[in-house]
Amino acid sequence: MKRQVPIIITFLIGMIMIFSFFIPPLEGLEQTCSLFFDVIAVFAFFLGGGNLMRIHVNKLRRRKKDWGFSIVTLGGFFIMLAAGLLKIGNPGGIAASPTTEGSLLQEIFTYVFLPLQSTMYALLAFFVASASYRAFRAKNREATILLIAAFVILLGRTPFGMLLTGWIPESFSVLQVPNMAIWIMNSPNLAGQRAIMIGIGLGVISMSLRLILGIERTYLGDESA
């Protein structure tokens, strides 16, 4: 019951998905499965919210380290949830899009969610800079190749590259740095990416097959629970 049923479900659904690719009459079944998936995906969002609540309520109750911040999390969670589920302040009422301009959800999104998330990613700019200072060293032949390729692209992607090598005549235009960058992207980069893509693709294919056939069961977790 705990192990066999999931394996059977995986097998059945996997087979439907594969065969409907080749057998047109099964297409409807595949679509329905996809729609089921979409609905379950929403329950996964709910699970995410539930998990969050459980963890932070626990933290609060046991007065773990930094429990004060859990109040912030829970506060934000409930305010946003109320704003979203009840469509507070939505000028279009219940039928309108939840993100209508002027609704509380959209306001919180614009003035709280957006700055938070985009700033978090903006941190990466700083780390890229420090990595290029600290780690980008021509230690050996491979590292040197990597460095040169990166340098050409960096130069070629900015107007500065054209400034440096714009004098090279059109018939030798591949030697202009921006064109060199384009060539690297279109030829060696494409080749390397394709080799990786085929490799990973085969990995995905082979793992999918093992999952469907029930050979690979790691995702089910431990035997006893």
């Binding site: 729609l35 998936f37 390729a149 990166a150 050409v152 235009s173 294919i205």
Partner: protein, 270 residues
Amino acid sequence: MRRSTIIVMAMVFGLFILSWIFRSTSLASVQEHYLIGGLKVTFSAFLTLAILSFLYKDNPFYKFAEHLFVGISAAFWMSMGFWTTIVGNLIPRLSRSLSEFFQVPYQPGSYNFVYFIPVILGIMLLMRLSSKYGWFARWPLAFIVGTFAGLNFVRYLRSDFIEQVSATFVPLLVNWQGVGHFISNFSLSASGQFVAIVGNWVIFLGVICGIIYFFFSKEHKGAFGAASRVGIWILMITFGASFGYTVMGRISLLVGRITFLFRDWLNLIS
């Protein structure tokens, strides 16, 4: 330590209020609710700076911002999922009266009862929250895994395998017009044969050597080893190029934030 914390807190709070007042007064001529408008902008600027402060070191302001983000994003996804998919796709297939309540067009159908299956599976997924009945969640998990495995199996085989192999079928000589023409033009445009042909060769040899590098069940010795070494060089060019390319993306994100600070908050630029 305590005292310095209080001082910093008070300073940040004071600056916040100050910024609010300044921002509101500058908005007074354009907006009706200028006090709220000023508060909104000031608050987002405060959050932006709180996150940036992480660069110096982990601190309570960063923690506050981050915890707020965690709560809000979870609720945001929940609300969106509820309104778009549950109300948009599920309820119209399940109940006429609920459809009327949510003002969505009811979609009658003879086999609509099957749409209770994902609801049941979804509820089983939520049982993971209970430690006793958590194992029920394996059923929907198996459904998710099965869907992905089945979909990915054929689609990766097609798009990342067959299509990629056939895209590597490139001619050795592109529009050959003799040796003189070949070496006389190094431009990147269509007339530049040298570049086009060398490009094709690099793609062909690069893909093959790259794949040879990813051979695991054969020792990399002799000619095979040499090819694999060429393969790793190609991969290194690829990664170098990707790194160089990505720098631009990362900088853009920072440009976006700084533009916000300078334009929307400080009003330095238009």
